[in-house]
C-alpha cells in the first residue's frame, strides 16, 4: 500500500454524511418535536385568548357609568324634568366624562323596568337613566361626583360597575396566574423532553463517533456533522409543529362569529411571538444538547 502523505490539512466535507445511527429515532425526532411545539403553541394561545377577553370586558366596565335620576310625578315627558336637567348640567361640566346620553323610555324599561316594576305607579314614575363613558386618561373622583350629583338631583344613584369590575379583576388575576403557570410548565416539559430525547439518541451515536474518530476526523467535523443533522431535524419538526399550532388557532378565531378587531390586533402578534419563542427554544435546545453530548463523548477519548 502506498505511503499516506502526512500533513494533509483537514478540509472537512460540506455535504452531510448521514452517519446518524438509529434511523427510526431520526424519523421520530421531528415528529416528537413538532407535536410538542404544536401543543405548546396551541395551549398557550388558548389561555392567552381567555385572558384577553377578560381584559377587554374589564376595559368596557371600567369606562361605563350609569346615573339613575328619580323624576317628579305628573310630568308629560321625563326629559323635561328639572332634576334631570341639573344632573346633566353637572355631568357635562365635569372634565373626563364623554358620551353622555339619556336613554329613551323603552331602553330605560328594558334596563331597569323589571327590577322596579313593583314599586312603580302614579306617584313613583319611571326614573331617567343617563349613560356616559369615562375618558381613559382623566381620573374622575367618584365620591366627588356623587356629592355634586346628590346636590343637583337628590336621590340620584351613580353606578360605576364596581361589583362587576372587582369580579372581572379577580378573574383576570386567576387567568393570568394560570396562563403563567401553564407557560412555565409547558416550557419546562418541552425543554426537558427535548434535552432527554436528544441525549438518548446521541448516546446511540457513541460507536459511530469512535469510528469517525479513528478514521481521523477532527473534532469540529464530528460535532458539526451531528449538530447539523439534529439542527435540520429540529427546524423541520418544530417549524411544522409551531406552524400547525398557529394555523389551528387562527382557524378557531376566524370561525368564531364575534371576532373583535382589537382581539386580532393584539393576539395576532402574540400568536407569532409565542410560536417563534417555542420554535426557537426547541431548535436551540436540540442543537446545544447535541453539541454538549458529542463533546462529552469526544472528551472521553484521548
Amino acid at each position: 500500500m502506498p505511503e499516506a502523505k502526512s500533513g494533509v490539512h483537514h478540509a472537512a466535507p460540506h455535504e452531510p454524511l448521514l452517519i446518524f445511527r438509529g434511523q427510526a429515532v431520526a424519523r421520530l425526532l421531528p415528529v416528537l418535536l413538532g407535536l410538542m411545539s404544536l401543543l405548546a403553541v396551541f395551549f398557550v394561545l388558548q389561555s392567552m385568548q381567555r385572558l384577553f377577553v377578560i381584559q377587554s370586558a374589564l376595559r368596557v366596565a371600567d369606562g361605563e357609568l350609569t346615573v339613575i335620576v328619580p323624576t317628579a310625578p305628573g310630568l308629560p315627558d321625563t326629559t323635561e324634568d328639572p332634576a334631570l336637567r341639573r344632573a346633566l348640567d353637572v355631568l357635562e361640566a365635569t372634565v373626563g366624562l364623554t358620551r353622555i346620553r339619556t336613554l329613551d323610555e323603552a331602553a330605560t324599561r328594558r334596563l331597569i323596568g323589571d327590577t322596579l316594576k313593583a314599586g312603580l305607579g302614579a306617584q313613583v314614575p319611571l326614573p331617567a337613566v343617563i349613560t356616559l363613558g369615562r375618558t381613559p386618561r382623566v381620573e374622575v373622583s367618584m365620591t366627588e361626583l356623587r356629592r355634586v350629583l346628590e346636590r343637583a338631583a337628590p336621590g340620584s344613584v351613580l353606578d360605576d360597575n364596581a361589583a362587576l369590575r372587582s369580579q372581572l379583576s379577580a378573574q383576570r388575576l386567576a387567568e393570568a396566574g394560570s396562563t403563567a403557570a401553564l407557560l412555565a410548565v409547558l416550557l419546562l416539559v418541552v425543554s426537558a423532553t427535548t434535552v432527554l430525547t436528544i441525549s438518548q439518541s446521541m448516546d446511540l451515536q457513541a460507536p459511530v463517533i469512535e469510528v469517525l474518530l479513528m478514521s481521523g476526523a477532527p473534532d469540529r467535523l464530528i460535532i458539526r456533522q451531528f449538530t447539523g443533522f439534529v439542527w435540520r431535524l429540529a427546524l423541520l419538526g418544530a417549524g411544522l409543529g409551531a406552524g400547525t399550532g398557529c394555523g389551528l388557532q387562527l382557524l378557531l378565531w376566524l370561525r368564531s362569529p364575534a371576532s373583535d378587531p382589537a382581539l386580532t390586533a393584539t393576539l395576532l402578534p402574540a400568536l407569532v411571538l409565542v410560536a417563534v419563542i417555542i420554535f426557537a427554544l426547541i431548535v436551540l435546545l436540540a442543537t446545544v444538547t447535541t453539541r454538549w453530548r458529542v463533546t462529552g463523548k469526544l472528551r472521553q477519548s484521548f
Binding site: 500500500m1 502506498p2 505511503e3 499516506a4 502526512s6 500533513g7 494533509v8 490539512h9 483537514h10 478540509a11 472537512a12 466535507p13 454524511l17 448521514l18 452517519i19 445511527r21 434511523q23 460507536p207 459511530v208 469512535e210 469510528v211 469517525l212 474518530l213 479513528m214 478514521s215 481521523g216 476526523a217 477532527p218 473534532d219 467535523l221 464530528i222 472521553q300 477519548s301 484521548f302
Partner: protein, 222 residues
Amino acid sequence: MDQISVDFPARLGVLQDVSLRVPSGGFRFVTGASGAGKTTLLRLMFLGIQPSQGRLEVFGRDTRKLSRDQKALVRSRLGVVFQDFRLIDHLSVYDNVALPLRVSGKARKGDRDYVHELLHWVGLGEHADVRPEQLSGGQKQRVAIARAVINRPNLLLADEPTGNVDDGIGIKLMRLLEELNKLGTTVVVATHSAALLERFDYPAIHLEGGRVKAAGQSGAAP
C-alpha cells in the same frame, strides 16, 4: 510505549506497567485470555483512550504533546478493525468503506475507483451497494478491513479479525493482512486463536491480567 497503565473509572489496572515497541513495518500478535486487555491495548494505540500513567509514542511522537487536531492527523494514519466491526448499518458497503476518506479530509478525484478496487481486493466487488446487515460475518469482517485500509494507513490494528469466521476464511483474512504488511504497513493483530498463532510465525505480545508476560522476540518499544 513505556510503562503504560490504563484505569477505567469502573475498574482499575486494566493494563499495568505495559512497555513494548512495535517496529515500523513489523507484524505482531497480541495474545491473551478473554479479558486480559487486548482490546484495551489496541484502543490505547489508536488514541481511543488515555493512559492514566506512562508514555505513549505513535510514529515517534509523544502523544502527550499533540493537540487534538494533531491526534486526528495521527489517527488518520491508522487503520482499525474493531472486534465488533462497527459498520454503520444504514450506509451501503461502499459508503462504509469510503467514510474515512470523507472525514479525514483526504478525499481525492480517483476515490470511487479506488474504493471499488479495494472492495474487489477483499472479494466484495459485487456487494458495494448492499447494506452490512445483508452480509455474513466473514463478509462484514472484510468490509471492516477494507475500511481500515482505505486511508493507506501506516499502522493497522486488527482486533480478533478472525474471531467470527471459520479457520479457512480466517486464514484468507490473515493472508490479506500479510499482503498489506509486505507493502510496508505495520500490522498488530489481537487474537486468542491458537491455530492462527501456530500457522503464522510472528512475534506475540502476550497479556495476562493486564501485564505483558512475553513480548515476542523484538521486545523493543513504537
